[in-house]
Subunit: 484 residues, 4 copies
């Protein structure tokens, strides 16, 4: 099923799915770097006959002739993804993925292209489809195809195209996949249902979306998961960057780009003090806002207190705040009743999960007037003239009105590559047919790949110190339950 | 074994043992509130015949006549321990510890007296000894004895006294203990060795020190632990306050009280970016220091980068820093070689663990001169006149030169009380003969008891929201692996 | 002379001229709210015959029929300019400008329209021209004309048009101006030169640009200034917002919009620690950057130290920084030699003054290649492949890549209105023919008008307290030399 | 008149007088370093016959034999006063005070001894008395006398002694003073009244206290000031450190030492947002407090808003705050009515000015009970058991419960020395018989002397840049009205 909206609803607070990140990233890129696609012809790529310069036609993209432009995009992305490029260099000789045959299904854009080409350099052979019908950067797909990768993807696939592309990756002559890199779970499920024999030959699955992970846990519960799977969505380093560090910057960026609001002196309520909420609060406080927090969990509430935020019920401050930010992962956290009480000019946005946190549907009543004042910004007018400024119609404002830094994508990509390496090379028995988190040592390795960006110099344990601490000098350095 | 110094060396970064906290707290109290003990007579309490006003003589304290003064101390402590007092009120009717017979062995001071009397109000009967030969507040012990609690403890016990006191708690007529509240593991071990039959009747052990927990895990590994034990030392809420929130304030307080240093503009290196290091860095940055961090763990190093600190090797900055703080839990992090390179006037202190982080012994060489300039402050002079300011001879400076807020003790006490309640009331089979962490729901309850102090108002989930999140409305609200 | 670029170079650190602010603001508005102007016809407004709905033709705008759209723009702006609207209400009955005949020459856009209509509501009659040939919002000019204000302005005036418009404001039948509100000094100078008799009748001039103020001081020195003038550019409240508070937000916004850079962990050098530099440093530190400062003034350098920033020479850190920001007001602070030493990917931008701080001309040599990657972003490539990211070609990045909040414009507008009121109503003798700063009491009044936005409640002195302090209860509250 | 309490009440917000600083500093020193003075004999120094080792008896101190200990105190102080020591070195060859004959009257302690000996090294000859009857460090006075300085001071002078000592400095054979360094104005006034002829020969007065400055301005107004005087109390650099930077640290230190309060999560109201208030707010916010501000001045109120603080009337938050800090310079800012409304356990302290801000007298009523719980800490009990914690009985808590860093004293001392140099060397006519602020260039020089402490490297203007800015390369760098 070609997803446009990730509807997973696990009990995590404030997850940002990588799927959406990549989508937004691509949108931002597109408007910046690539030309309009309005001139693209209407012939389906499936009906075109295309060959790359080496004569191969084992791919299906919009227009192979755009490959040079796509190559430049990939080169620029490499400059902003130091970790994955470092991994490529460090592991180039080992070829830890030699023999791996990976079916990939992710967004296809400059950043994922860097990941795909890294996997190939590490020894893998790959076939790749898009996990989203709208997010493919056509010129990047062309560049991959020109470089010899069998890519089946273009922007604006039909649903039928979507499944056809995945099928073309899985089912081909003389190539039997043994690994899956999935984003949303569609490739996993197609293979499981349509090619069960082939699925049994898979050595491991790497999944990075909330939805896909949820589906894997359900499979596992149902006893249908016959291969080990790595949940990279919840790896420590990746989560930290996806949530705390990304959102700390994107809340500012999103609000500013959408509304030009001045932060100094504003009263803001942030619903939820998980990692996303913490990031939002820290950034807003840093720019001179007075921030209130709502929480359901007393531990997080106590943290908010100790960090200097008043913990309130939403109803206590709803009449006075200038900005409301949701970051709970829950639904209907902001109701029509709340919005009826807001003062004129209040900005309302969602940094949390999906589009459920603000009850936007409750605003679609005859007594209220919607004015779209620019892309992603609606003014909702009450009969008395009150005006609420709603961003991105309640969808994730950080993805709609900001962009995900390449550095964050680099961390996710490294995590995925290492998960594949681990699963492919693990000795028999290390992993059973279950869903695993990335081993802490790998998480630490992802982190270490990104330290040179900051010119950060790690201290090494002496033998004596390692012995005193009961640690291996190469890590892992923390017990599994460590909270960072 | 009557401990004066906790020598546990687990692989945790920067643990602060509750044992030491209480000790330091008491010291601070003593100097503030209580008169000098110089006039105390030299007769051993064991040789005195004392009775409380109700005629009981089932106790052994220094001087029962001091009880009124001790009672006032306890009353003041109650005002500063809102959580434990709230627990007392909420559970007073339930008497969840009715039938519990608790042998306790902790520091004995105003704060622990509040805990002890809370346990009694919740239905328990108790017998109590001191876990440290120097830390007992005699007047508080007297107040407990006057109130009818069998207390066996005084400041300045001999080692033989120490074991005699514990023995008198365990082994008495007509009273068969079924719970142990231990701090250091001495009661547990005495009972296990000397009264093995009695030990088998125990329903649960609650242990709060690093050392005691370490000994429990060793017992468990060796198959000798025949009862469930609760490791309250590592409960989430307690750890957060012991480390991050306490140290954020005590690093400032310790340095200021010991040296009157002005923080603005100073260069500081903090070794270790665990919870203690994070707290130190945040506070020092907040007062205008430039802070450098050393780390062995790439994940923590990356966190330091994202929080705005340069991650360096100690040797890179050792010549330029004004203040050096250790918070690693490791040994010999600061060596003589480092100290040889420091500039004149550098302040060196340890916030981490035990007294191993700074190699203080390496400074006890004939070429260096030590000058004690005041309590806890030594100037070490190099032959060329260079002067290093060493605090607390490398022991924990936050305990030597600052004090632990009662609020933090309140959190620890609640955690202990809830652990006892949980173990005492758990249905058969919930806990086996192993070492457990406090259930998350209890951790959340401890937090909730302390929210009113901050006038913090928790939001409740609606039925619909709880269902959407897959949560119970009363918690627990997070999966076990949640990192806060 | 129709200015496009303000070339004033006074000895102030880091001034932002109001002229440019308004320009940038307008640009931002235009792209957001108003349609493209591509369809506008080519007939000069001077050749068109236009009448407003009341029959008046005493104006000259692009297209009177656009007035409804312009009116909506003005209404939106009013919502974001609480101070000036409050002033309008408070003084509506007093009509403190009754009898004032003001020739105005400013940018013409929604925000200035609010100012103009406020002056009228306060009793003034006005005639208005544009101070910049490119910055007029045509639909706003139309709305003003429709409302009966004699406006002479359109986007894309020729230089001749420019002077014609101003002349039409000054020289008209039955209307003798007695006040000037100027932005750049062109109206003042035209009147002085062409209508010296009329100039002598003027009661006061209010000037808000660096350039205009500079010209007034020169006139004054030369003994040619025959009327009192108010330098509103340097009023305390206005300057604070123009520099510290605006730049604290716009440095983040500018860098993010232009480059999508992630701030966490980045090394930044800020040249200059005046108000603009302070704002930049505070914001960047708050988002996790390590910030270095360069300074020439030891007092500011000491402030930087105490605020936790390392004070360095640029050459010491130029090889390691990721971002360089200038905020000095000086020239050639960043030279080609510096840029030769930067590492790959360094972002270079100017927050200070004019376009002189970065020696951009030194980059226009044959060995370097410029690539424009998007509007306001150039990549300059060195022969070895090194890439420097130059923003806005060294012009003010906060104006080129961000926008000035309406709140800041509201403060400037209030300051202008109060300066006019003060000059118009001052008793004879209070002001001589010189250049004055706004009286502190007026500055305080501007501030007080904006407090309700933040729901801030001022405390009033009791009689006893006022006497003790030697203050009037209504202010001013500080001596003139007070540094805030 | 020997002052114990400075009662000056100028219209400055939150001044801290240097007099008190030095006093508190000395108290802190005394308790740390020097032994008890209880053994001191009861014979008046005036009746003793003492000689130093060179045979001079032109001094009067408690006990010349303590000089070695005093010398060590002075040496330690030198290490902590980098600026004044640097000044000594830089100017040693120039001897800019050659020929100066200075009568000094200040506190006499290790820090002022460093100043006195610096003046001598720069060429001056001096005679010195104490400005306070209780603050003299006897051993330091002895060390100065031993080194040949005619010092007349001891701890515990009678009022008659006090004036006798000053007289002995002024009126001696073969030595005609030409400069006065005063702290409080007593020497100035004694000379003016008793030795008017001598007073007319004075080339300049340097005064550092609020009171002394106030008296000078009164003299000037009354036309009685016949010599130029320098008000060093209000010099930019000194004020910055006395107020903002000192108080940022001492509010934390004072509260912690006095009460062991935990800051995290506490609600605090700070009355007054001048420099002292700003410092307090910044520090408290940095440690996790929620801070409210009260203000009478709309400009400062707006600053508080933009810095993220809610601006309230005291009555709005008085029932909920945990800590109240005054920093207004005003009187009765906190009344009995306010204190009646506070909740149990509220801490009340004054960081502002004098002892007037909190109406402490209103608490001395029969219905309230005072309990002194330790030095500087009183609990005031209401009939219902409510307990307010009052620090230092409403006097300046930063001086009573904390200490002033030597670095701050170093800045003050440099300022005084430079003021003397400037007045002594100024060409005829530069200064008239009036009260002056230190020239900005001197202020900048004081700052520059302290930069090496922070290893801060100043940038020098190029000739081209200096010309562009219209500045001298050596400064001053800012116009007089610059606000920093």
């Amino acid at each position: 099923m070609p997803r446009e909206e990730d509807e997973g609803h696990l009990a995590y607070p404030s997850e940002v799915t990588a799927a959406r990140q990549t989508l937004a990233r691509m949108d931002s890129r597109r408007s910046s770097y690539t030309g309009s696609s309005s001139e693209e012809d209407e012939i389906s790529p499936r009906e075109k006959s295309q060959r790359n310069s080496k004569g191969s036609s084992d791919f299906c993209v919009k227009n192979i002739s755009q490959s040079a432009f796509g190559r430049r995009e990939i080169e620029i992305a490499e400059q902003e993804m130091p970790g994955i490029v470092a991994l490529r260099k460090r592991a180039a000789d080992d070829k830890p993925l030699k023999g791996a045959k990976i079916v990939g299904c992710t967004h296809i854009n400059a950043q994922t292209a860097v990941l795909i080409e890294t996997l190939v350099e590490l020894g893998a052979s790959v076939r790749w489809a898009a996990c989203n019908i709208f997010s493919t950067q056509n010129e990047v797909a062309a560049a991959l195809a020109e470089a010899g990768q069998p890519v089946f993807a273009w922007r604006g696939e039909s649903e039928e195209d979507f499944w056809w592309c995945i099928d073309r990756c899985i089912n081909t002559e003389n190539w039997q996949p043994n690994m899956i890199l999935d984003d949303g779970g569609d490739t996993t499920h197609l293979m499981l249902k349509k090619y069960p024999a082939m699925f049994k030959m898979i050595k491991g699955i790497c999944e990075e979306s909330v939805t896909g992970v949820h589906r894997l846990y359900q499979l596992s519960k149902a006893g249908k998961l016959t291969v080990p799977a790595m949940n990279v969505n919840d790896s420590v380093t990746k989560t930290m960057f996806d949530n705390l560090y990304s959102c700390r910057e994107s809340i500012i960026d999103s609000l500013k780009r959408a509304t030009d609001v001045m932060f100094g002196g504003k009263q803001v309520v942030v619903c939820g003090y998980g990692e996303v909420g913490k990031g939002c609060c820290q950034a807003l406080k840093g720019l001179g806002c007075t921030v209130y927090v709502t929480e359901i969990d007393p531990v997080c509430a106590l943290q908010a207190c100790m960090d200097g935020f008043r913990v309130v019920k939403l109803s206590e401050v709803i009449r006075q705040v200038d900005i409301l930010v949701t970051a709970t992962g829950n639904k209907n956290v902001v109701t029509r009743d709340h919005m009826d009480k807001m003062k004129n000019g209040t900005i309302v946005c969602n940094m949390g999960h999906s589009n459920t946190e603000i009850d936007v549907n409750s605003l679609r009543t005859p007594d209220l007037t919607w004015e779209k004042v620019r892309s992603q910004v609606d003014h909702v007018l009450w009969p008395d003239g009150k005006r609420i400024i709603l961003l991105a119609e309640g969808r994730l404002v950080n993805l709609s009105c900001s962009s995900v830094p390449s550095f964050v994508v680099s961390i996710t990509s490294c995590t995925q590559a290492l998960a594949l390496i681990e699963l492919f090379n693990a000795p028999a028995g290390r992993y059973k047919s279950d869903v695993y988190l990335l081993p802490k040592k790998m998480d630490e390795y992802v982190a270490s790949l990104h330290l040179p960006t900051f010119d950060a110099h790690l201290t090494e344990l002496s033998d004596e110190q390692a012995k005193y601490m009961g640690l291996n000098k190469a890590g892992p350095f923390k017990p599994n339950y460590y909270r960072y």
